[in-house]
Symmetry: C2
Subunit: 404 residues, 2 copies
C-alpha cells in the first residue's frame, strides 16, 4: 500500500472551516493506513476479522501520472471511509484485477471500478458515486435491519411517502412466522437498494388491504401496488418476482447506484427527464410525467430515468453543455449512452409544459423510433458527410413538429 501519509490530505470530500463552536467537526483523514492490499493470503483473515468487508475492485494501476493520481484519490476516499467506519467494525481493501486475478475470481469480483461489500454470506455490489459521503451512507444502510416493521398509522404515513423507492410490504402473524423469515431472507438479497417492510398489526394490514402472509410490491411512483401472487411465498419466489419486476417505468437517478442504472439502458438509449422537484415548474412537470408513467406502466420497454439536477450540482454545467439544454427548467429527451448524443422535446419556455397527452405522444414516437438521436446528426456535426436523404427526412420530421 502506498504511504498515503505523504499526501496527507486532511480531508477529501470537503474542507470544513474550523469553527469556534463544537459539535459539527467533520472528520479529516488522520493519515493512518487502514485500507488493505488484498491478496490470496490475507483475504480470509480480513473477512473473518470484520463484520463487513468492502473491496474496491480496480484495473491495474496505470502508467500515466494523471491516472495514478486519480487512483490515489480513490484510495484516499476509501481511507476516509475506513476511518469513519472503523468503530462500526467495517474493513476496507483493494483488489487489483490483474495482479490479484486469482483471488478476484474466487470472490466473484467482475466489474472494475465497483466496490463489493461482503456481509456474512452475501456480496453486495456498489456501483454508485465513489465519494466518501455516498459510500458511508450506503454502508450505514447495510448495517440496518433488512426489514423495517410498521407498527402504527404514523409509521404507515412514512411508508406512504416513499414513492421514489421500490418497496415491498408484507403482513405476517409475528416475528417467529416462517413466512416472515422467508421475507427477511429475500430482503437481505436486495438490501439496501430495495426496501422491505412488514407489519404484524391487523389495523395496519387492513389499511393496506393486506391479508395474512400477503406481500405487496410497490413500483416507484405508482399509486397501486401489485400483490405478489401465490401466498405464502418462499424466499426464492419473492426473489424471482422482484428480479422480474425490478426495472420500473419511472425511476429516479440515485448517487448510490447511478452507474448501474445508467448501464441498464434499453437498446442503447435512455429516456431522461430533468426536473427539479423543489421548483414549481419542475414539480408540475413531474406530476405530468408520473401520470404518463402510470398510464403506460404496462409497456415493458418503457423506462424513464428522472434526474433531479439538485442532486448532482457538479454535473449540471456538464449536462447543459453535453445535451445543449437549459436545466433551470424541465426537460425530457432521449440520450444515446454510447456517445451521449441526444434529442429533446421542444418546449417554448418553462410555462409551455406539455400536457399528459402530448408527452404520451412524444414517448410513443420515441418507442417507435420516430424520435431518435440519429436523425439530426447532420445538423449537429458540421464535419459529417452531407447526406441529402437524411436531411430530407429531418425536414419532414421538423415539419410535423416532432423531434427537435
Amino acid at each position: 500500500m502506498l504511504s498515503l501519509w505523504l499526501l496527507m490530505l486532511p480531508c477529501l470530500s470537503l474542507v470544513p472551516p474550523v469553527p469556534a463552536e463544537k459539535g459539527l467537526e467533520f472528520p479529516r483523514y488522520d493519515g493512518k493506513d487502514r485500507v488493505l492490499d488484498i491478496n490470496d493470503k490475507n483475504y480470509k483473515k480480513a473477512m473473518k476479522k470484520h463484520s463487513m468487508l468492502c473491496l474496491f475492485y480496480h484495473e491495474p494501476i496505470p502508467e500515466s501520472k494523471e491516472l495514478q493520481k486519480q487512483h490515489q484519490m480513490t484510495e484516499l476516499v476509501l481511507e476516509l471511509a475506513a476511518q469513519v467506519m472503523e468503530e462500526k467494525d467495517i474493513g476496507f481493501g483493494m483488489v487489483d484485477s490483474h495482479k490479484d486475478a486469482k483471488v478476484s475470481k474466487k470472490l466473484g469480483l467482475e466489474e472494475e471500478g465497483s466496490v463489493y461489500v461482503f456481509k456474512a454470506d452475501r456480496v453486495i455490489e456498489f456501483d454508485g458515486l465513489l465519494s466518501a459521503n455516498t459510500l458511508v451512507e450506503f454502508l450505514l444502510d447495510l448495517l440496518e435491519e433488512p426489514v423495517e416493521v410498521i407498527g402504527n398509522a404514523a409509521e404507515l404515513r412514512a411508508f406512504d411517502r416513499m414513492e421514489e423507492d421500490i418497496r415491498l410490504i408484507g403482513y405476517f402473524k409475528n416475528e417467529d412466522s416462517e413466512h416472515y423469515e422467508a421475507f427477511k431472507e429475500a430482503a437481505e438479497q436486495f438490501q439496501p437498494y430495495i426496501k422491505f417492510f412488514a407489519t404484524f398489526e391487523k389495523s395496519v394490514a387492513k389499511e393496506l388491504t393486506l391479508k395474512m402472509n400477503e406481500v405487496d410490491f410497490y413500483e416507484p411512483f405508482m399509486e397501486e401496488p401489485v400483490t405478489i401472487p401465490g401466498k405464502p411465498h418462499s424466499e426464492e419466489e419473492l426473489v424471482e418476482f422482484i428480479i422480474e419486476h425490478r426495472r420500473p417505468t419511472l425511476r429516479k437517478l440515485r448517487a448510490e447506484d447511478m452507474f448501474e442504472t445508467w448501464e441498464d439502458d434499453i437498446e442503447g438509449i435512455h429516456i431522461v427527464a430533468f426536473a427539479e422537484e423543489e421548483d414549481p415548474d419542475g414539480f408540475e412537470f413531474l406530476e405530468i410525467l408520473k401520470e404518463v408513467a402510470r398510464d403506460n406502466t404496462h409497456l415493458p420497454e418503457l423506462s424513464i430515468v428522472w434526474i433531479d439536477p439538485d442532486d448532482f450540482p457538479l454535473l449540471i454545467p456538464y449536462w447543459e453543455k453535453t445535451f445543449k439544454v437549459d436545466l433551470f427548467r424541465p426537460q425530457i429527451g432521449v440520450v444515446n449512452v454510447t456517445d451521449a448524443d441526444s434529442v429533446w422535446m421542444e418546449m417554448e419556455d418553462e410555462e409551455d409544459l406539455p400536457t399528459a397527452q402530448e408527452l404520451e405522444d412524444w414517448i410513443e414516437d420515441v418507442l417507435s423510433g420516430k424520435v431518435n438521436t440519429e436523425d439530426d446528426d447532420d445538423e449537429d456535426d458540421d464535419d459529417d458527410e452531407d447526406d441529402e436523404e437524411e436531411n430530407q427526412s429531418l425536414i419532414i420530421i421538423n415539419n410535423t413538429g416532432r423531434g427537435n
Copy 2:
C-alpha cells in the same frame, strides 16, 4: 497563487469510475489556475469582469504543514467549483485576512472561513459546508430569479410541500406592480436562504386567502402563515419583518448554512433533534416534534435544530461518539456548543417514543434549566472533583425521571 498543477488531483469531492457509457462524466480538475489571489490592485477588475465573484476569506496561511495542506485542499475545492462554474461567468478569489486586510475591510469581509459572493450591489455570505457540491449548488441557486411565480394549482402544490423552508408569498396585480418590485428587492436580500414566491392569479390567491398586495410569511413546519401587517409593504418593511422573525421554532440543519445555524445558539446551547425522515420511527418522532413546535411557537427562546443524519453520513460516527447516542433511532437533547457536552432525553428503545406531552414537559425543563448539560458532568468525567452536592441534585433529577 500556488501552482495547483503540482498536486494535480483530478477530482476532489469524488472519484468517479470511468464508465463505458457516456452521459454521467463527473468533472475533474483540469489543473488550470482560475482562483485569483485578490489584492488591493485587482479586486475592482475582477468584480467588473464577472457577473458574480466568490471570495474565500481566510486566515493567514499557517506555518504547520498539515494546516497548509488543508488550505491547499480548500484551494482545490474552489478551483473545481471555478472550473465547473466557468461557463456561468462566475469568478473566484481568495483574500488573506492579514495580508489583504485593507481590501477585506473595503469589501466588508468579516468572518474567516466564509465565502462572500458579490452579485451586483449585494454581498451574500456563505457559511456552509465548503464542498464543491454544496458551493456549486448554492451558486446555481443564486443565479435563479429571486422570486418564483406560482401560476396554477399544480405549482401551488409544490409550494405547499416546502415546509422545511422559510418562505413568503405575495399576491400582486402584475409584474409591473410597484409593490411586486419592492417584494423582489426584498427577496434579493435573502436569496437563496429564504424563498420568495408571488402570484398574479386570482384563483391561486383565493386558495391562499391572500388579498391584493398582501404577503404571507411561512415559518418552517408551521401549518398557518403569518400575514405581514400593514400592506402594501415597502422593501424596508419586508426586510425588517423577516429579520425579526427569522429564527424559527424548528429548523432543519442544511449544508449550505450549517455553521451559521450552529453559531446562532441561544445562551450557548442548542436543542438538537436527530431524526431520519426516511425511517418510520424517525418520521413518527418528527411528527410529534412538529406538533410540539407548533404548540409552542409563541416561545421566543425556543429554537430546535432538527438534523436528519442521512444528510451528513460522515458526521454520524462522530456524533455518536461525541454525544454518546445511537443515531439509528431518534434522539433529542441539549448540546452545549462551547464544549459539545450534551444530555439526551431518555427513550428505552425506538418503540418508546415520547408523547407530545412528554416532549413538551422535557422541553420546558430544558428552558427552565432543570435539564442541562452541566448537572451530570461528575458522572461523565471521572477526573472531575467529587462534588457531593452536585451528585445529590443529579440523583434527584434522575428520580423524577428527567434528564439522563
